[in-house]
């Protein structure tokens, strides 16, 4: 594989491209499974093929020559910074998937506390106070203008 030692692999980019290509292929197969009629394939099939061609053109960018600095978004980024990003993404997932089951009040408050901590608020009393006030304000504020109530547990 590594016949040219000067080339590197940008793993994150490779992963992103695999996801995109995977979604495109799965979508094309699902569309073809639904029906082979022209009214179904008219746009999706050519667009999918175009996407796959474009993905092939992007491929060299994943294996840049090592002196190329352009492909290095994580210039000053430490592993710690990246961990915080992933923690925040995980916290947001927790919020999105638990809202309806544990109630907007609990889910929002929990997310606020965790996310504030991840984002660097070290004073715990500030964190808890802000999270509580913000949660209550948001639930009553948004709650009064949306065309349906939010599922709540405590408030």
């Amino acid at each position: 594989m590594n016949t040219k030692p000067r080339r590197r692999i940008v793993w994150g980019h490779l992963l992103l491209l695999i996801v995109i290509v995977g979604v495109v292929i799965a979508y094309l197969l699902d569309t073809r499974a639904a029906s082979l009629r022209i009214n179904n394939l008219l746009l999706v099939q050519p667009a999918s093929i175009l996407a796959l061609i474009l993905a092939a053109l992007v491929l060299p960018g994943i294996f840049p020559r090592s002196e190329a600095t352009e492909e290095e978004p994580e210039k000053k980024e430490t592993t710690g910074d990246l961990v915080r990003v992933f923690l925040l993404i995980a916290a947001l997932a927790g919020l999105a998937f638990s809202l309806e089951t544990i109630g907007f009040d609990i889910a929002t408050f929990a997310f606020m506390v965790v996310a504030l901590a991840i984002c660097g608020e070290k004073r715990w009393w500030v964190n808890l106070g802000f999270s509580a006030i913000f949660t209550v304000a948001l639930i009553y504020g948004y709650g009064s203008i949306t065309p349906f109530p939010f599922p709540l547990t405590i408030l």
Partner: protein
Amino acid sequence: MIEFTSVWGAFALLGSDLNAWLYLLPGLVIGLVFGAMPGISITMAMAFALPATLYMDFLPAIIFLTAIYTGAGFGGSVPAVLMGIPGTSSAVATTFDGYPMARKGQHNQALGIALASSVIGCLMSYLLLLFLIAPVSNVVLRLGPLEMFAVAVWGMLLLGSLAGSHLSRGLLAGVFGVLLGTVGMNTAGFTRGTMGIPWLLDGIPQIPAMMGLLAASQLIGLINTNYLITDESSRKISFSKIVGGVRMALSYPTIIFRGSLIGVIIGAIPGVGSSISNLLSYSETKRNAPDGDTFGQGNPKGVIAAESANSSSEGGAMATMLALGIPGGGATAILLAAFAMHNIVGGPSFIANNKDIVYALIFSNFAQAILLLFVGLGFVYVASYVVRVPLRFLIPSVLVVATFGAYAIEGSAAGPITLWVFSVLGWAMVRYSYPVAAAVVGLLLGGLLEGNLLRTNQISGGDFIGYGLERPWALLIFALMLGSLMLQTLSKRRRRKQTEREAQANAASEAS
């Protein structure tokens, strides 16, 4: 054209109940606040106010509702500029340059520009409405799928200019967006890519996906930054700079005029409206600007183009509603319902028989636009304090607000889940230099492209060219599009030659 007896009738009507004007201010404020909340659509704001108008007289009811309409139209631009959140699809192009301006510390100017462009766009659209209402209504219904497809393709041209330095990545993002935009049941009833999830039948929820791609992804990436604006001295809230932005917008009358024209025309087409007009206006402005390369990095012209087009779409939608009695979107559907509650039914005979009401509506909207300038100044002044909030508070708060908005617009966890999936995708795309905006444009236009391509195929029996030759309006749109592209290439070449010549001249003069 303009009938002066009706104009006097309109003034008499507007003056008949001065108390009606008391509803102007609350209407605008409600609109601004609702519009500025991500996920709360103009339709929702108006649906809430509708029951209250049941017990009002006709004039105050209409003034109240249209004031909400106008206010909400601008309200969506505030989060678009300050946080990069397009609360509605009509504010997407505003984020392209408005948000970079805010990040550079030009938040005051950006908001002032957005406000002024909106106000002028709104004024212009109603002015155009006075003259265009009859011809527009004649054409609108004749627009078939091929014409709509042409409009969608025009919007897709934006992909080329959004791509930036990595052309293949930009196009891949755009095509990927288009594909995602066709998920669900297509117009012929075929269901694809839903993975058995019922809510995907209607496609991927657009607004949560956009908020995720454009805003949440940015916020996640900002986690290691302390403030939205890095330079502390730029974090000031300055009223004079907001006013400076207003003045700056005034110095680009061509862009505003073009935006307003695009807005009125596209806004008049039922079912297309402001979500496309802001993209078209942005794309045309960028293509024609000598400094087009700096669009997307905080060029004020981008904000002017987007804002003048999305606010003028209101006038276009109103033209269709008044002339044909058909709603172009949810907001005009509510207005029609309010008309009906007072025994006034829209349609061709409505304009003929009620010219005074039509003019009264137009004049009251002039008043709204002007009042919006002042109310809006106060509103953006307060709203811009957001830039002073440390990011460690702002990131979690805005993520939660976006989640609530996503829930509000979908009515179920489908919204927040979509938001999450697309914010992760957006974060990864930003990290590896894919333009997320291209994916958003694709996502917005995918359904429109497919539906109308498909209907063109159905209606023509597969004979696209033969059918196309029978459609003068489609040919005209395609011709305009090609013309615009060619003009751009020509002017680019001319500019390049000019710089070369200047360089040569300089070299020559130095040599001598």
